[in-house]
Symmetry: C2
Subunit: 203 residues, 2 copies
């Protein structure tokens, strides 16, 4: 078909985005420049405007691409089966995924670029991920708002620390099981009212 052109265009766009990730990993997200990016893909800077309307549009494409990667990563994995085990795997996967690429994590989960707001289309993909994550938590019995808020915060914190302090490692990822069991122990053995306790001593 005559969509040969659109296809090659999409491929080139993807190549530019890949290259942008590489530069961002080296120079930081805020250090990304169109001149440098163009040079890296064998173009002159104005030619990038054939593929992106503006620099913010490029950032939006990165945001979208990052969530596409994350969503692909999540959907190609199996979080069915025993809900507790699934949640453990989910947490470990998330932390490892975050630790694999700090700037990608930064782009998706932190607000480090002044003036950048994801487009509605990109944000929709982000919401898809949050829905998928909610399903895994919910299946394991974490449905109360407080539980979800806290578990989300813990996963987020583990990802952040892993990405910032031990990129590529597993110092925080290895605590996935402990993290999940903390919550499940509390959520399962919870009567109407929580009334603890802590003697300060040990048993």
């Amino acid at each position: 078909m005559a969509d040969r052109r659109a296809e090659r265009r999409a491929e080139k766009r993807a190549a530019i985005i890949d290259s942008a990730w590489g530069i961002a990993r080296r120079d930081g997200l805020g250090g990304l420049s169109l001149h440098g990016l163009a040079a890296a893909v064998g173009l002159r800077q104005p030619s990038l405007y054939v593929y992106f309307d503006s620099k913010l549009a490029l950032y939006d494409a990165l945001f979208l691409d990052g969530y596409r990667q994350l969503l692909d990563f999540v959907t190609e994995r199996d979080y069915t089966g025993d809900p507790r085990d699934a949640l453990v795997r989910f947490v470990r996967d998330q932390v490892e995924w975050a630790g694999a690429d700090f700037v990608r994590f930064q782009m998706l989960f932190q607000r480090s670029i002044p003036g950048f707001e994801p487009s509605a289309e990109s944000w929709a993909l982000a919401l898809e991920f949050y829905d998928a994550a909610s399903a895994v938590l919910s299946a394991a019995g974490l449905t109360r708002q407080a539980d979800v808020d806290l578990m989300s915060a813990l996963i987020s914190g583990m990802c952040s620390q892993q990405a910032a302090n031990d990129p590529g490692g597993d110092r925080w990822a290895q605590h996935a099981e402990a993290a999940v069991d903390l919550f499940l122990a509390a959520a399962n053995g919870r009567p109407a009212h929580r009334k603890v306790v802590s003697t300060g001593g040990r048993t």
Copy 2:
């Protein structure tokens, strides 16, 4: 004596730093410019070089000032008394403090400015804070590396979510008690103990 001059100089430096925080809150940390900052304090841009050697030095001053604020905040509070209650107060205070100023949180705990690395002097102050935080955790019985890593991650995540999603609110801060009790219930129902090494952590 003739330190009148040094005194006024320090005051002016502090005024510049305060103004810089205000601009950063409005334009983002990366959106801070020396021209804009100078105008805001009634100076011309080159005059800022009397007070700061470079823009990175200004960022370092902000980093230092932020940790000074945090350390003042922590030391003026009382985290003695019942260790569990102290830890609950500590967590709540931290989350509220983070939620009070997103860019300050961003400067202290995220790496959003390409090329900026805190100086050794500034970093020393950061370590003071981590020591103080460790003491509060440790007093409550959280001494194992895994416990400290996870509790740190949870506090960090709560702060991050609070600052990014509910600035000035208390959606995450109100879960301080639940967060602490999760950990203490687990830590107390467990025979102890291994030795812990320094966390060296940063979010």
